[in-house]
């Protein structure tokens, strides 16, 4: 088995409250996995564990069979994770292009001393131009993130992830807060990003769009994974309906 | 009975730290500002109480006057200095506060003169035997006063609407702001109470040393910062414990570490060690 991502037996507790209990998740190359569940189910916590933002009390994470346990977030990014967090956080002091260039150059500039003698960034510039075109931001390259609408800032966030050519993209609620037409367009962009060599995990409350673009769903509730499988099979499951829809969660849009 | 001597001396010093640090914690909990200029209130309290005692002959009256005046000054500091820069990154307020404090020290020097001020007839200067040592009544008054004031404050924080608002703000800053719980009236009150407590501490220190001088606030100012950081920022109970602990550790440290470190450095050595082990303080979460 050659799982792209494998997380095994993840346990996290905050102040004695169990946020994740023995969670296992695998992602194969070429998959676009939708991670869904009611608020407080532990989706973002799981994502943060994979990204190295939270250290779990127990459990291990492997990317391409290499253990990520104990590594810092920036190291994991260089090993092939692309992390887009729920709140978009561009560097507001730089232009859109510079944001992406910075991410594109991070791997080659691990050592501050090389950065000290480096001024020109032609490679990063080319890389960022390519990615900005991919996410549909080329027209905004010289604007500042603060002047962009939310939808465009979300695309910028994604562009920063892609700058590292990630093997696995982790997206936390990329569509949240967007009007339906924009959400649909962004979901299409995400679906286009998926290819045979990489994988995507997306946390999303916009069930309609998740169902449309995902190849597989993972449902979480109360800190556990309760169901995984093809979207239509998962949504037909009684336990999923009870946990997720039964609570009257307004996420069916 | 060296041990007991040092312990009691540490507690006296710790009670003074506690009175200053608690005001800082209150302000930090509400506004996330490290209010260095708080020590200016301490110095103000010291001067006002000495001056008012000399003028009126009544120490109690002077305490009231010092607390009241410093409380009002605290409100002014909030309104004129902090409120306009609250939306800026937190270090801006910290730098402004340091500037304000350094400026205040100079103003005290200008206004009251560089040589300090003493009681003409120092109250509570008699001593009393306690086991093997002699304590000034003033020192006993400090401990009793600190206990009484901090207990009263604990009641305020735990039982009143003001205290509820403060605790809500510490726990959920965004929520408290959007609900209007964390409003100007609450902030005025917190600055008033905190500054009044610092002024009382200043008055007591001026009483024990029989001396108020422009820089008397400097060391307590920085140590009080160390204390609230140790306690984890925004924790009243933790602040009290950390203040008393620091007082005691210092008084023992001066004896046993005095060769390597001076008294003021002990506090910071202790703080740095704790922060490296627990980056959010002893009682801080996470």
């Amino acid at each position: 088995m050659t799982a792209l991502l494998e997380a095994r037996g993840i346990c996290v507790s905050f102040d004695g409250v169990q946020a994740l209990q023995e969670v296992n998740i695998t992602v194969e190359t070429g998959e676009l996995v939708g991670l869904i569940g009611p608020n407080g189910a532990g989706k973002t916590t799981l994502l943060h564990v994979i990204a190295g933002i939270i250290n779990p009390q127990r459990g291990d994470v492997f990317l391409d069979r290499r253990s990520l346990t104990g590594l810092s977030t920036d190291r994991r990014v260089l090993m092939g994770l692309g992390i887009s967090r729920q709140l978009v956080r561009p560097f507001y002091s730089m232009s859109v292009r510079e944001n992406v260039e910075l991410a594109a150059g991070a791997a080659g500039m691990r050592n501050p001393l090389t950065a000290l003698v480096r001024r020109n960034s032609r490679a990063e510039r080319r890389q960022s131009a390519r990615i900005l075109a991919l996410v549909g931001l080329e027209a905004f390259a010289d604007k500042h993130p603060g002047d962009l609408p939310l939808g465009m800032r979300k695309r910028l966030e994604m562009a920063k992830c892609l700058a590292h050519k990630p093997r696995l993209l982790l997206l936390d609620e990329p569509l949240a807060g967007l009007p339906q037409t924009e959400a649909r367009a962004l979901a299409d962009t995400i679906a286009r990003l998926q290819n045979e060599r990489s994988g995507i995990v997306v946390i999303e409350h916009n069930l309609g769009e998740v169902l449309r673009i995902c190849s597989r769903m993972v449902v979480m509730d109360n800190g556990r994974c309760i169901k995984t499988g093809a979207p239509e099979r998962v949504m037909a499951d009684a336990r999923v309906r009870a946990a997720y829809l039964g609570e009257g969660h307004a996420g069916t849009g | 009975m060296l041990f007991l001597d040092l312990f009691v001396e540490g507690l006296v010093q710790g009670s003074i730290y506690a009175l200053i640090a608690i005001g800082l914690t209150l302000v930090y909990g509400l506004l996330r500002i490290l209010h260095v200029a708080h020590a200016g209130m301490f110095t103000l309290g010291g001067y006002l109480s000495v001056w008012a005692t000399n003028a009126s002959g009544s120490f109690v009256l002077s305490l009231l006057a010092a607390a009241l005046a410093a409380g009002v000054a605290g409100i002014l500091v909030y309104r004129l200095c902090y409120r306009p820069i609250l939306h800026r990154p937190p270090h801006v307020a910290l730098i402004a506060s340091i500037g304000l404090y350094v400026g205040m020290e100079e103003l005290f020097r200008l206004f009251f003169g560089p040589y300090g001020m003493s009681h003409t007839d120092p109250p509570l200067s008699e001593t009393v035997g306690f086991f093997s040592m002699r304590l000034k009544y003033a020192e006993i008054a400090i401990m009793a006063g600190a206990v009484a004031l901090i207990s009263a404050l604990a009641v305020v924080v735990n039982k009143t609407r003001l205290g509820m608002a403060w605790r809500a703000t510490v726990a959920e800053p965004q929520m408290a702001l959007s609900c209007g719980i964390n409003n100007d009236r609450i902030r005025d009150l917190i600055f008033f109470i905190g500054s009044a407590l610092a002024a009382l501490a200043g008055a007591m220190v001026a009483l024990v040393n029989n001396y108020a001088e422009p820089t008397m606030g400097a060391v307590p100012a920085y140590k009080a910062l160390a204390i609230i950081v140790l306690a984890g920022l925004g924790d009243v109970g933790g602040t009290l414990l950390a203040a008393l602990a620091l007082g005691v550790i210092e008084s023992f440290g001066t004896i046993y570490l005095g060769k390597a470190l001076d008294r003021d450095a002990i506090a910071f050595a202790f703080m740095i060690v704790v922060l490296m082990l627990r980056p959010r303080g002893i009682f801080g979460k996470g």
Binding site: D74, Y92, P112 | F268, M271
Partner: protein
């Protein structure tokens, strides 16, 4: 002439100090309230070595190295604590440095170290040398700002968490900022020790850290010309106007407060605002 030369020497030293702190606090966004401790490290190191007979130029590098190593140690602290906690930690480092120095016989204790050999230059020569080093420090600062390192510092100052998820080696760059900034303070310390030929604990206290911070803030956080102007202004003003000298601390305190309160960009920010108002936007 001697007076003017020694005054400009002090100004040069202060420029180096302020530019070093600007690297840490202005570029990289890591607040430090203990810069005088690194200055003191360099000064004491230079003083001891000079007394032991080392020639002037051989002392400069070790002084920078000693301060820089302490800077890296404090930089490691900056990896553990952030923002307010870091401010207080660095302040603590300052007090700790003084607390240790004051109790050490071999460092002269409260009395300090006297009769440090000079650099073998006359006062004008020494002034030129110091100003030359200040110019080097300014050139290095300007270079860093334009280099990729400056970009990364900018990102870390902007949003540290976002920098991590962008794959930036935040820890390494923070340490680099502390190492370079504090090594510059070490150089300033060595220049001070040879220029004044005396070092004592009272020159490296919290007030001195605040004074350096004041130069950076008043000049304009992050701006090289601004910080140089700030250092010059706050060095020369108290010397030229006797009135100001008596109230030096009131000036520092008042300026720190007024600038953060009314013009957070400092003099550089004001210059930009004026240029913009005049209709000719200018780069900082």
């Amino acid at each position: 002439m001697d007076y003017a030369a020694s005054l400009l020497t002090v100004a040069g030293i202060n420029i180096i100090l302020a530019l070093g702190l600007n690297l840490i606090t202005g570029y990289c966004g890591q607040i430090s309230l203990g810069h005088a401790a690194f200055y003191g490290m360099g000064a004491y190191c230079a003083a001891l070595m000079a007394k032991a007979g080392w020639p002037f130029f051989a002392v400069l590098l070790p002084a920078m190295a000693v301060a820089g190593v302490l800077g890296i140690v404090v930089g490691f602290a900056a990896l553990r604590v952030r923002h307010d906690f870091l401010a207080i930690t660095t302040m603590g480092v300052g007090f700790l440095f003084l607390g240790i120095v004051r109790q050490q016989e071999w460092l002269g204790g409260e009395m300090g170290i006297y009769n440090i050999p000079g650099a073998g230059l006359d006062s004008t020569g020494y002034m030129l040398l110091t100003l030359g080093f200040a110019a080097l420090a300014a050139a290095l600062s300007a270079h860093i700002k334009r280099s990729w390192m400056g970009r990364v510092f900018n990102a870390i100052a902007d949003d540290e968490d976002a920098a991590l998820t962008a794959g930036v080696n935040v820890a390494g760059y923070k340490l680099a900022a502390f190492a370079i900034g504090t090594a510059m303070a070490g150089l300033a310390g060595a220049l001070y020790a040879h220029g004044i030929r005396y070092v004592g604990p009272e020159s490296f206290g919290f007030v001195d850290s605040v004074a350096i911070l004041c130069m950076v803030v008043v000049g304009g956080v992050g701006s090289v010309p601004g910080v140089i102007a700030g250092a010059l202004l706050l060095t020369l003003l108290p010397q030229l106007l006797q009135v100001v000298s008596d109230y030096r601390l009131l000036l520092y305190g008042g300026l720190l407060f007024l600038v953060t309160r009314f013009s957070p960009g400092g003099m550089a920010g004001m210059a930009r605002a004026i240029a913009a108002a005049a209709g000719r936007p200018r780069a900082s």
